[in-house]
């Protein structure tokens, strides 16, 4: 009957650790391509964001949510709703891109494949959760 899963400490630091990895990778890639400004700016933005949501999470509900602290069932539900909302936006954008591709006669373009992947993964997930409950 438990409504908690991941430990708060684990989820608290995982976002910061992930941001550090991504920020470092961005810096290296930008530096290799000779883009010094981006090599500095991108990790500052990414790691700064992660630091903010990690250390403000104890006081701010929104920061805790953005910091991946799914301490309880309400935050997990908010995460599901937010993911669903952003997924709906992505579906609309993908379908719009798919229609543009079709109008241009570019059948089988990236948006077509994205739409197909989205549709198949939705059907698979719906079937899975229908059986799992």
């Amino acid at each position: 009957m438990s409504t908690t899963t991941r430990s708060p400490a684990h989820s608290r630091w995982s976002v910061l650790a992930t941001a550090c990895l991504i920020g470092t990778a961005m810096a290296v890639i930008a530096a290799v391509n000779g883009k010094v400004f981006l090599a500095v700016a991108m990790p500052v933005i990414v790691i700064g964001y992660a630091l903010a949501v990690t250390f403000l999470g104890r006081r701010s509900d929104i920061a805790a949510q953005l910091g991946g602290r799914e301490d309880d069932e309400r935050r997990r539900l908010i995460n599901l709703k937010a993911t669903s909302a952003s997924g709906a936006v992505m579906i609309i954008a993908t379908l719009a891109g798919c229609l543009v591709e079709l109008a241009r006669g570019d059948v089988g373009g990236p948006f077509t494949w994205l739409a197909a992947a989205g549709g198949v993964s939705y059907m698979a997930a719906a079937a899975y959760y229908t059986r799992r409950g």
Binding site: M1, S2, T3, D72, E73, R74
Partner: protein, 66 residues
């Protein structure tokens, strides 16, 4: 859904943080439940009821128009 969580909590002179710690949820979630902005799951509602030594029906009241 209306509920009596705030009344029961304050009667025991508990903070939202303390009640959240007992129930395994955040302070903000306790506040959201008290404000009626979030309806807890059945397991959490039962934990709340057990903690206060009463039943779910005594704490949570379904609004007539819902």
């Amino acid at each position: 859904m209306r509920n009596d969580v705030r009344r029961l909590r304050t009667a025991q002179e508990l903070s939202q943080q303390a009640l959240g710690a007992v129930l395994g949820v955040s302070r903000q979630t306790v506040n959201a439940i008290e404000q009626g902005r979030y309806d807890p799951s059945l397991p959490l509602a039962i934990r709340i009821a057990r903690y206060f030594g009463t039943t779910v029906e005594e704490i949570f009241h379904v609004d007539d128009d819902t």
